[in-house]
Symmetry: C2
Subunit: 156 residues, 2 copies
DNA sequence: CGTTAAGTGTTATGTTATAGCGGTATTATA
DNA sequence: TATAATACCGCTATAACATAACACTTAACG
């Protein structure tokens, strides 16, 4: 029942095509720089810091300064193509940029991998709890929690 | 039914006495420095950055370097006397250091105030969801979500 | 094709956090 | 109580994360 609620396994080419289509649809410019940043985040397959992205540009022979990368990330985030993991200072691809986001990020304390897990139960519990506390939450909330992923549990 | 599940309104003297007792009980040293850091966090009544704490020491005429404050905060956190809001890079007092922590942090986007709201429903939903994703979470999880507090909603 | 807005390069700087060393105070142990 | 072991803290330096501000280029749109 939860088996198809996980995201995170789209292949890079598909993700890129989807991102491009989404931007075209919205009249947003998927420039080479933004495309490259997105591609790097997709290829990483796990959350990256902005400075790790800078380092990968350097490997390419490129040499952008931090603001360049941060601006691209902000653009991608604004269009739902990546998420910022605030608790990790890292950025991660979103594989379902057009779907609603009710759920949570599960981040493995050991290997660092993050899974975006859709679950209306969590979203509802959060909203109910927040309302009881007098808080108004945005429609989409994506809390981040740290734990151990299955692989790392198995590996003791 | 949720009316007594909020924390955050203990007066400073009580909080200090409680912290001191808890440390004595555990054989942990509640040194003047740690006491002072705790006191500053309590008095603030809202989440503070480490550098804001440093600034308050400076007002006192003190002059500690960052590691001094970070170390004290780590100690206090280890004993459950403060929480680190990872998404905010801020630290906030915990008013119920001996009780279990199932719930969430509600942080106001506008005024910055944070409320630690106990709610087993949220904790359960998170654990259920995490298990479905193959993750193992620590017993106590305290996700942070941003929204608008009642006061800031009222003030438009 | 010229005007405007958006995007990017670049420099500089601000903010948050930690490594590591050496000295002092406290605790444990004999 | 002497002394060994440990915990604590001051301090310097630097790492890691993030943004302000301005100049220049390119794309969008009449």
């Amino acid at each position: 029942m939860h088996t198809d609620s996980v995201h995170g396994h789209t292949d890079p080419a598909t993700a890129l095509a989807r991102a491009e289509a989404l931007c075209r649809e919205r009249g947003a410019r998927f420039t080479p720089l933004r495309r490259r940043v997105f591609e790097l985040v997709v290829e990483a397959g796990q959350p990256l810091t902005a400075y790790e992205l800078l380092a990968r540009f350097a490997e390419d022979g490129g040499n952008p300064a931090p603001p360049t990368v941060y601006r691209a990330l902000e653009f991608l985030q604004a269009h739902g193509l990546v998420h910022r993991l605030a608790s990790q200072n890292r950025w991660v691809v979103c594989d379902h940029p057009s779907d609603p986001h009710g759920g949570l990020f599960l981040v493995c304390r050991t290997c660092g991998r993050a899974v975006e897990w859709a679950d209306e139960g969590v979203a509802q519990a959060l909203h109910t709890s927040a309302r009881a506390a007098g808080f108004q939450l945005p429609v989409e909330v994506l809390p981040e929690v740290e734990g151990l992923c299955g692989d790392c549990v198995d590996a003791h």
